[in-house]
Structures are given as structure tokens and as C-alpha cells.
Amino acid sequence: MKEKTKRTIAFYSMISPWFVVFILFGLFPMLYGLYLSFTNYYGFNIKHLKWTGFHNYHKVFTDSDAMYSLGRTLYVTAINVPLSVLIGLGLAMLLNKQVKGVGVYRTLFYLPSIVPPLASVIMWKFIFSSNNGIFNGILDRLGLPTVNWLGYDYATPSLLIMLLWGAGGGIIINLAGLKGIPRDLYEAASIDGATPFKRTIYLTMPLMTPVIFFNVINGIIGSLQILMQPILLNGTELLSRPIQPNYLYAVHAFQQVFAFQRFAYGMALLWILFLAILILSIIVFTTSKYWVHYETDQE
């Protein structure tokens, strides 16, 4: 057998587990879902589906709940992504210094992002609770008026605080980027008289932009899909409806499917979410040539 044929056979047999599962459990369901979004499927009529064209998609844009939740989701994303990217980077820069017991701090900072979401919601409820919650206790002691953290006015800031508490999840990827910056660059900059502050702004930041870019894209993808935190923060069951300001887009889609069996409509909602993710990612990609620094000697 020729070397090239051998390689081809080896390659395709090695990727076959992923490829077969991708076709059967990824691509096929995806297209099936796309098809269903053009029908009137509501859970019992799978044998008598009717093609309804763009009806469901039209409905998404006239459904005030969907549009409201989309707005709230974009709002949460617009605050959550920049802040969590900055916090992740800032914490990683702290941990990149030579300090004693850095492993301990690394563990402590990273822990919140691996705590089961269910457990972290339970903990934050203690803090936000309006009667005898910790935040209100502190406000009270300072002589300030207490607020209803999980009520209409503060529910979204509370959700954001809870989400940002887990922002340490970005530490590892940032640390990997920081450790990849060659040390001699810093030494050269020091010899040229650059202060630590200048080194951070003119050296670390530009060299970290590929990692920041990666985190921004990932953050957008994740933030637009936030689902369980708003549900559990106010409700006690997975099918309960979050308080209005935290009624996010993925929650709306989840409710349509699992609480009301509106499968076809739910799929239309999710395909629009997918398009929103794509569009936002493309926007970030096109801006990247203005701010993401790529090494010139790329392979």
C-alpha cells in the first residue's frame, strides 16, 4: 500500500468515533430540529406535521416575551463578558507573580468556577436573602437602607454578582498565555527603563490580546446561553419562571419546550439564538484585526 493511502486510512479511522457521532447525534438532530422549526409540532402530532413556513420565526419577533428576554440577555452579556474577561486576566496577573503558596491562591480563586451551580446558587441565596441575608445585614450595620436583592430592581445585579464570582474560571487560560510571554522581552524592557506599569500596558496587554479575544468569544457564547442560574436564583424548581428582569432568552426557549411542549416554536427560538451567536462572533472577529496582536513569525 502506498504511504499516502495508509495515512488517509489511519486518519479517517482515527477520527471516525467523533465523525460518526457528529453526523448521527450532532448534524442530523440539528437539521431535524431546523425542519421541525418550520412545522407546527407541539408534542403529540409527530405523525401529522404541517409545514408552516416561517410562521414560528415570525412569531419570535412578535412574541413580546421573546423580544424582552433577548434584550435582557444582551444586557447581561454586555456587562458580564467584559467584566469577567478583565477579572480573569487581573487575577491571573496577580497569580503570575512570584509569591509563596501561589498554588493555594490559585486553588482558592478557581474554586468558585467548579462548585456545582446548584450549590453556588444555594450559597448566594443566603447572601441575597432580604430578611437576615448577609448583604442586608452589612447595609443595616452601616446604617444604610436595606434592599430586596432578589426583587424586581436588584435581581439582575444580583445575578451578575453571582456570575462574576465564578469569573476565576478564566484564570488558567490567562495564566497559560502569561507564561508564554518570553522573559527576555521583560528584561529588555526593564533595561530600556520601562516601569512595571508601562511593561503591563505596552508589553503584557498587546501580547495577551489573542487570549483576551478567545475569552471574549467564549464569554459571548456562554453568556447568551445562561439558563439555570436565573431559574434557580428565584425559583425552587427547574421549570419555575425566574423573576421578570432575569427572564433570559435561553430560559424562554427552555420553558416553551419543557413546560408547554411547544417544540416547533422552541426550535425556532433556538435557531435564532444560534444566529445571534454567529453574528456577534463575526462582529468580534472582524474587529479583531484592529486590536488582536498576532506574532509575525506565525507558521
Binding site: K4, W18, I114
Partner: protein, 277 residues
């Protein structure tokens, strides 16, 4: 690769910042602990009201805790035995075997990371329902065999960084491509295997939406059970918060221990693989 940054001795403000952030990140965990030991019918406070370690015992007896725990273990073992291995195989092929079409296929792998999970999960739910696979563990087996896009990416980055001479030496010795992977590359990849295993375990242990969608209560893992079944006082709908918190802490412990002992490997694994293309 192993360059460390400018040597700066830890200064006072640096330690103050580190300690301050540690307090911020640990505070909710401390509160949970304080509440888990508290007496029933007291509101959560900064110090536990009383000392009631029995709450942890009640957490495991008031609901079918160990039964759900067994389901959790099964749902963790399935991807650990499948996804960890197949992701490595696929990542290796993408890193070391150059054939036409490879880059397009790799772009497809990466683009699946952008897809909202529910876009495939809900049609899958309908299809699994049709073929009688709902409320079984089979979907987890299939997903596991298919690997995970992010892990494929990590393995690929790792394998791509290994010098070509090793491969050439193996070829001269007459090793097949698969043997080269198995005997030479795989034994070298302990850090990335550890990283992927820890992340697989944590993800599977914490996932409660997937099982909620595809399983019924009897097959729920702990994470799903705790978010759907309440610890209520007999005959009432009143939730006994300290017991529920104790259960949440029990749920956390295996993940925290795994991370504590494994974090060295994760950092090493990701730092040495590198995240840049």
C-alpha cells in the same frame, strides 16, 4: 516555554490583594458551611446557630441520597472511559497525520463549540423518545464515544508540540501509525490526559440539565435530584435549609478534592499545550 515572568518579590500590597480576593471567593463557601451546621428554623448568619453535624446524616437519609449518588458515579464513569480516550485519538489524527480535508474537518470540530447545546439537545430528545432511548444511559455512551470538541482541541495542541524526530524514529522501527500513537505519544501525554479527565469528571458530576432533560427521577444523578427534590419537614412543604445546604456541601466535596489534588496537572497541562493556534 518554561519562562517565568520578571522576578518580583511579593510585596505587601500584592499579598493584601491576594488575601482579599481569597476572602471574597471563599466567603459564600464559608457561609454554606456555617449554615449546614446550624439548627433548623434559624436564619442563616455569619456564625452557625448551634452545632448540628447530624444535618449531614439527615441529608443522606431524608432522600434516596446514595441511590442518586450511584447514578452520578455511572454518569461520570461513562465519559471518563470513552470521551477521554476517543478525544485523544481524534486530536492525535488532527495533529500528526496530514491528509487532504483535515483542516476543513478541524474547523467543523471547532465550530461545534459555538453551537448552543439546546439546538441539538431538543431534537435529540425528540429522536431518543422515538427510539426508546429516553430514561436510559445510552445517550451518554454515544456522546462519550464522540468525544468533546474542546478536549479534541487540547489534545491536538499538545500532540502538535511534540518534535517530529520521535515519529520518524518510530517509523524507521516499523511502527504503524496507531502503534506510534499508542506506544510513543500516549505515554508522554500524562498532563493533558489528567487535565481532560479532571474536566470530564467535574463537568459530568455537576451537570444537572442534561439528566433533567433525558432521564426520569429514578435515574437522576445527585445534582439533578437536589435541584428537583426538596428536603421538606414531614407532611409540610417547608424546606429545611441547613439539611439542603449540607447535601449541597456533600455534593461539592468530591469535585473540590479532585480539583485540589489535580490542579497542578491542569495548570501544567494547559500551560504546556498552549492556547494559541
Amino acid at each position: 516555554m518554561n519562562t517565568s515572568n520578571p522576578t518580583q518579590k511579593g510585596s505587601f500590597p500584592l499579598y493584601a490583594a491576594l488575601i482579599l480576593f481569597s476572602i471574597v471567593f471563599m466567603f459564600p463557601l464559608y457561609l454554606a458551611l456555617a449554615n449546614a451546621f446550624s439548627n433548623w428554623n434559624t436564619s442563616p448568619g455569619l456564625v452557625p446557630s448551634g452545632f448540628k453535624p447530624e444535618n449531614f446524616k439527615y441529608a443522606t437519609t431524608m432522600i434516596d441520597f446514595w441511590h442518586f449518588g450511584k447514578n452520578t458515579v455511572i454518569l461520570c464513569l461513562i465519559p471518563l472511559c470513552t470521551s477521554t480516550l476517543t478525544s485523544g485519538l481524534v486530536g492525535y489524527a488532527f495533529a500528526r497525520i496530514s491528509v487532504p480535508g483535515r483542516n476543513v474537518l478541524f474547523m467543523i470540530v471547532l465550530s461545534t463549540m459555538m453551537l448552543p447545546g439546546m439546538v441539538t439537545q431538543i431534537p435529540q430528545y425528540i429522536l431518543f423518545h422515538k427510539y426508546g432511548l429516553l430514561d436510559t444511559f445510552w445517550p451518554w455512551v454515544f456522546w462519550g464515544i464522540g468525544g468533546n470538541a474542546f478536549f479534541i482541541f487540547l489534545y491536538r495542541q499538545f500532540f502538535a508540540g511534540i518534535p517530529k524526530e520521535l515519529e520518524d524514529a518510530a517509523k524507521i522501527d516499523g511502527c504503524s501509525i496507531f502503534r506510534t500513537y499508542w506506544n510513543i505519544f500516549l505515554p508522554m501525554s500524562a498532563p493533558v490526559i489528567a487535565t481532560v479527565s479532571i474536566m470530564t469528571f467535574t463537568g459530568a458530576w455537576n451537570d444537572f440539565m442534561g439528566p433533567f432533560m433525558f432521564l426520569k427521577q429514578d435515574h437522576y444523578p445527585l445534582a439533578t435530584a437536589l435541584s428537583t427534590i426538596s428536603y421538606t419537614a414531614e407532611g409540610t412543604k417547608l424546606i429545611i435549609q441547613p439539611v439542603a445546604t449540607a447535601a449541597a456541601i456533600l455534593l461539592m466535596i468530591p469535585v473540590l478534592l479532585t480539583f485540589f489534588f489535580g490542579q497542578r496537572y491542569i495548570v501544567e497541562g494547559i500551560v504546556t499545550t498552549g492556547v494559541k493556534g
